[in-house]
Symmetry: C2
Amino acid sequence: MKLTRASDYAIRGVVYMSMQPEGAIIVIPEVAREMDVPVGFLARIFQSLSRAGIVISHRGKKGGYSMARKPVDVSLCNVIEAVEGDIKLNLCLDGYNACDRMGFCAIRKELETVQEDLIASLQKTNFADLAVEEQAHRDSL
Amino acid sequence: MKLTRASDYAIRGVVYMSMQPEGAIIVIPEVAREMDVPVGFLARIFQSLSRAGIVISHRGKKGGYSMARKPVDVSLCNVIEAVEGDIKLNLCLDGYNACDRMGFCAIRKELETVQEDLIASLQKTNFADLAVEEQAHRDSL
């Protein structure tokens, strides 16, 4: 039960974007260098973030990515789900015919509660707060 | 971010064990049949549960497994960690040199909080409650 590497890198990328002035267009190699992420992998991740409406892709000579929403309106949950799909803590929570035991299983009900707690916890953290913290850490070096 | 199949089966196995009278010795094929789990996989999982002090292995003709602790004293967290190892929500939370950014990273701190919430949520559910619910579901069929 672990975040994927793609989610880890996506979070780093959105933290960096959230540290920029509103509307700033940033290129992937800069994000990759600053957040210590492989540039090719990050490019694919930003395509997912763009499809999820978290960043906007700008083409052309001065192209790159900008935030599609205010950082305060983007949660850890949004970014993880943009990359991994909806959070499903167990296979049995993945749709209505995921397991033969679904009709009577006590475990599924409890795991659903744990999953709701987890999602609530991931929704609590927004990228405005993460950006402020990351900047403070950098300034203190 | 999903439980492994082994954790899913381990939870099923411990629910079944928790439904039995205290001290009862149960054989793996019975647990496998009742909880719809492949018997070979379940045998390996019960070895992990035994090492973690959740079940006791009994050898010989009347051998099998019994619970090592009262079901009320075994949490979802205990069983998942017996199979997957300590819950680490992200690679960066896996020890003291897991990531080069550890000295200043804002993300790590937030994910640590989410991880603590998740563990607390998994600790809340014990197998006495799960066994009662599972039995009630079965009786209602």
